[in-house]
Symmetry: C2
Subunit: 385 residues, 2 copies
């Protein structure tokens, strides 16, 4: 692997499937780690069978597994277990997202691993974590989006249940896992001690909900969906324009005064109902009633030119194509290419972690074929292919 | 600070305000780092003025800044600059989320910092990053939620614009910043080299959208909002029941077969339209038409008992109060207390990063008063209070 980064030299043994674990190890690969996927023989990672497909290859899988390597091992077969154990002896981090108990059944619970491989960090991302009465319950993204409360504050009052458009249950868990694993790597580097990292998707949903939880415990009111408004800041929301909608985010009193001036409504700056953010938040409907007819008077692009000129944070509501056409995407290399030997170029989201000491190349190595790196890996381990 | 963790001994000098930067440094504090907030004299972090309030104190601020320290410094005043520079000489990481250019105006751009403090890691979280034509544009959470595309895939077809219920623009940036900073700390530990970490909230939105971007670049179809359905997996969505809604997430063929059996509809398991996930995804409306009337026949709790018994990932759609009442919350310590000297107990979201080598106490130190740690900090720096 040619990639370099702050995790160069770190080897991740990756048993994880689909999204939460693989998203964590994707970020580690982007930071320079070598990630070796250990997949079940035959079908491999479930994500290889999720669409969309390009000439039979899952681009869902490519997007999350670019730059990783693959070896297929049956963790119940003695010969394959020997290979796996040789990998563990060489690895720095083991990542898995099985249901709790699975690793113990395979003979690779934390106590066993830590005794045999005292420098190996072990990260488990599961639905409910490795402790507590629900530990062994199965979970997927949608289940924890529903259980964790984020769906109850997403959407419009009275609308049917609304999912966050992205798989925040899985990706959230992947992000917290990566933070904890990197901290555990630092701790091991400084002290020699390896730790187990136990991440629950459900816990991560609660962590992401920090604001709603704090509002509930402070006020006793159960937060509900607010459409496109912010719960604590006003005006900080979507407004209708002559040809669609736009976002205006006047996050403090100074920006609110600038907004009133830019809209030609200095009277709203003087109105005692809107004198502070707290007052504007409590009188949000009245402020909205004053702003809506005004903003409906011009198309989005005209308003953005006016408000941007006045230094007010604002913008359109882009679809994915429009978002990718934003000039920052090219300037910041946020759409990268992976050159797949079978299906050619696949364009995927880039790495948002830009580090001055490392290059951020415009291409990424491809995702591996199932078992595609077996020969090289066995050779390195000194085992017979 | 009594907290210990994998970042114990690391000192973070934190110029950041409101949410993206403070969320990163909150996670670092939870992992054991000492975080010293450097706030503008007089008003401090804007978040101190965001509601809700308890006896005049912002619990918004408490939630994000528990366990940090505070010193108020005017970075344009020579005497305070000397204090700030003594902090930089002592610190491991500087975190800020100003608009790009601000640090240079203050005399603390990366080149200057790196030359004077060669071991100092510098993390900047801004709206559009430190490069590209939009670099200096202002942004807030709502602006990047609109620009980055996540609002275009959240909500129901035809519904008004829908925000993700949590501030995913800020929190997303905070998460990626924490991953990158921890990796940069490891790199510095191993090589002695400090790096600049340049995070754009807009870039992070694209990174979170990896699935939607891959679908768009693969198929050319612009993804739209899908309510509570998953774009690539079926059935994996909210269904109406006799008394509300529930989530069913049959993420692979085996779970689909179990679901059909548990629902008493083996015919649906045999139906060729639903034989694989890809077919179910393409024929999702037909599958839904078969399942909806059936699921409306019993209340949510009954269905959950039946489906959980059959090992099928499922669950209710909880509000925040219901989510916090889940038995895992207590078992996993996901609602912690901070004992504020002025307003007493504030209950806030816990830390989802559970590490075997470190305790996860049920209480957290309080958030600091503005400038509340000045005397101690000056004493440690050997400066006159």
């Amino acid at each position: 692997m040619a990639s370099t980064g702050p995790l160069s030299g770190i080897t991740v043994i990756d048993l994880s499937r689909i999204l939460a674990g693989p998203y964590c190890t994707l970020l580690m690969a982007e930071l320079g780690a070598r990630v070796i996927k250990v997949e079940p023989p035959g079908k491999g990672d479930d994500a290889r069978h999720y669409g969309p497909f390009k000439e039979g290859r899952s681009t869902y899988f490519v997007s999350i597994n670019r730059g990783k390597q693959s070896i297929a091992l049956d963790l119940k077969a003695p010969a394959d277990k020997r290979v796996f154990e040789a990998l563990l002896a060489k690895g720095d981090v083991l990542v898995e997202n099985f249901r709790p108990g699975t690793m113990e059944k395979l003979g690779y619970g934390w106590e066993t691993l830590h005794a045999r491989y005292p420098r190996l960090i072990y990260a488990a991302a599961s639905g409910f974590g490795h402790s507590g009465p629900y530990s062994r319950h199965p979970a997927y993204d949608m289940v924890v989006q529903g259980l964790g409360g984020i769906m109850s504050i997403t959407g419009h009052p009275g609308s049917p249940p609304t999912r966050v458009g992205t798989s925040i249950g899985d990706i959230g868990a992947g992000l917290y896992t990566a933070i904890a694993v990197n901290a555990a790597l630092l701790h091991r580097e400084r002290t020699g001690e390896a730790t187990k990292v136990d991440i629950a998707m459900f816990d991560c949903q609660l962590a992401l909900l920090e604001n709603a939880i704090m509002r509930y415990t402070t006020t006793g009111d159960i937060p509900g969906p607010m459409g496109a408004r912010h719960p604590s800041i006003t005006p900080f929301e979507a407004f209708p324009t002559a040809d669609g909608h736009m976002i205006i985010a006047a996050g403090n009193d100074g920006l609110y005064l600038k907004l009133c001036a830019a809209l030609g409504r200095p009277d709203l700056a003087q109105d005692p109902r809107f004198a502070t953010n707290d007052l504007r938040n409590r009188n949000g409907d009245a402020l909205r009633a004053a702003l809506d007819p005004l903003l409906r008077g011009k198309p989005t692009a005209e308003w953005i030119a006016i408000l941007e000129g006045a230094g007010i944070p604002c913008g359109p509501i882009n679809n994915v194509a429009q978002a990718l056409a934003h000039p920052q995407v090219k300037a910041r290399n946020m759409l990268v290419e992976t050159n797949d030997p079978k299906i050619g170029t696949v364009r995927i989201a880039g790495n948002p972690m830009k580090l001055s000491a490392f290059a951020d190349p415009p291409t990424r190595p491809p995702a591996p074929d199932l078992d595609g790196d077996r020969a090289q890996i066995l050779r390195e381990l000194g085992l017979q292919p």
